[in-house]
């Protein structure tokens, strides 16, 4: 059996797969953050908590309503999106006239409240969520063993990310969004209801987080702190990719997941910090981020 730089291929591909899985979540979450930031100029600190709420919604639906994984994959993001719409309408929208810092503080506070509530109700230990029957087991690819569910996560994330990219960059609705990101006042002067667009954008962005939460439930267990563990890395991803760039968020998310995986193989000690090292380097060389435009 050949080895690659002294690493057996199973270990290499295994870690790359893990990296790809993490990358799938980084991409989904940083995409939502980028969409929200572009339109609202708010750094949504509640993003990780809403990802957790998505996972819990799926778990609660199964536990109390008998609603399984597949319907939850649609319903939980809708619930989270609706919750986001209410948040935006009742709270966030009051802050746009003030400094951006207030939006950040509000969403940070919301994250703490949400996490605190779920910890109070369900404790800090994880709740298991079963992999749906259709995705049990795995397949041997020859060079590695691929659990079906993990393959599904990567595919689902890619499809949703690229679909979002297409909708924003290539459709008429997306043109409204891009234009309103650039000059909301003028878009309003053409007869478009920009405040409503902002509300829906926030709802959509957090629905992406809810979707990621459901995808994550069978892998990581459902845990009140699952979001805050992940979101720090995701913020680093957004800084590296560049705030507000859609493709940048997707590419950077997957790339950094893979980079983490590779680091685990070749220099495991650094695997937890490699993203932050990259962030520091990018900030020094290109402060607007790899795909960001200077403002």
């Amino acid at each position: 059996m050949f080895e690659f730089l002294g690493v057996p291929p199973q270990a290499l591909f295994g870690q790359l797969l893990l990296g790809l899985i993490n990358g799938s979540f980084y991409a989904l979450l940083s995409l939502g953050l980028a969409v929200i930031f572009g339109m609202l100029n708010v750094i949504n600190f509640a993003h990780g908590a809403l990802y957790m709420v998505g996972a819990f919604t799926a778990w609660l639906m199964l536990q109390y309503l008998g609603i399984g994984y597949w319907p939850a994959l649609i319903l939980a993001p809708l619930v989270v999106g609706l919750f986001g719409i209410i948040l935006e309408k009742t709270m966030l929208s009051r802050l746009y006239k003030l400094d951006h810092l207030y939006g950040l503080l509000l969403t940070f506070g919301l994250a703490l409240i949400l996490e605190g509530m779920f910890r109070h109700w369900y404790g800090a230990s994880g709740q298991p969520y079963r992999i749906p029957d259709a995705l049990q087991g795995g397949r041997n690819l020859g060079f590695m063993f691929l659990p079906n569910y993990r393959g599904w996560v990567v595919v689902a994330s890619l499809v949703v990310c690229l679909g979002t990219w297409y909708a924003i960059e290539r459709t008429r609705l997306g043109a409204y969004l891009r234009a309103a990101t650039e000059n909301p006042v003028l878009v309003q002067a053409f007869g478009i209801n920009v405040p409503r667009m902002i509300t829906l954008t926030y709802g959509f962005g957090v629905a992406l987080a809810g979707f990621a939460g459901v995808l994550a439930a069978p892998i990581y267990q459902v845990n009140p702190l699952m979001g805050s563990n992940l979101i720090i890395v995701v913020f680093a991803v957004v800084v590296i990719g560049g705030m507000g760039s859609i493709m940048g968020a997707i590419v950077t998310g997957f790339a950094l997941g893979l980079l983490e995986g590779l680091t685990k193989v070749f220099y495991p000690e650094a695997s937890n910090i490699v993203v932050f090292v990259v962030m520091a380097v990018v900030l020094l060389i290109k402060p607007a981020g790899l795909f960001g435009r200077e403002r």
């Binding site: 234009a179 650039e182 003028l186 309003q188 002067a189 053409f190 478009i192």
Partner: protein, 235 residues
Amino acid sequence: MPDDVMLEVADLHAFYGESHVLHGVSLTVPKGEVVTLLGRNGAGKTTTLRSIMGIVPRRDGSIRMEGTETVGLAPHRIPRLGIGFVPEERGIFSSLDVEENLMLPPVVRPGGMAVEDIFRLFPNLKERRRSQGTKLSGGEQQMLAIARILRTGATLLLLDEPTEGLAPVIVQQIGRVIRELKAKGFTILLVEQNFRFAATLADRHYVMEDGRIVDMIPNEQLEANMERLHEYLGV
């Protein structure tokens, strides 16, 4: 209000935060006419147009579009009464290509110009359909800013200094376009500093000073009032 009035502004006040910029502006734009708003830098011409569109922080008074009061309407409802806006800075979107810029403003009424007719009026834009909006020259961007509101069915066009900073040939071309639009029946409120240009197009001229309308001169009396106008505009 008589049927032949498109826009009637009465005792309009506008504010940017603490600063009171318009002090009781009144003007009338009859249907089918080209009316200019002349005045020195900072007189309040742009603020008047922005107030009509409802995009200043605060405005009081009355602005009626074909009899409908718009002060108090949400900003996105005002263009839906049939008003198209070309801002002073042109407002071409850099994240949209030329065609997307052209197609952006939603149709607010039936009867807008067909895209082919718009391209006939502005042939350069057709060739550059796929270019990034802000890669166009200044003149082309101005053409695009005008072109995109012709599709929407708006009958009143607000143009803020469409000739500013453009070469004389382009200014002439824009003059031809405005004349053609007038012939098609559009009503136009035109902000201009260049009154020689305005004189070739307009039916009447309002003169602004320090946030007030200080004079109204019908175009046929322009010659007789040249001296007064020079004084107002400080040329």
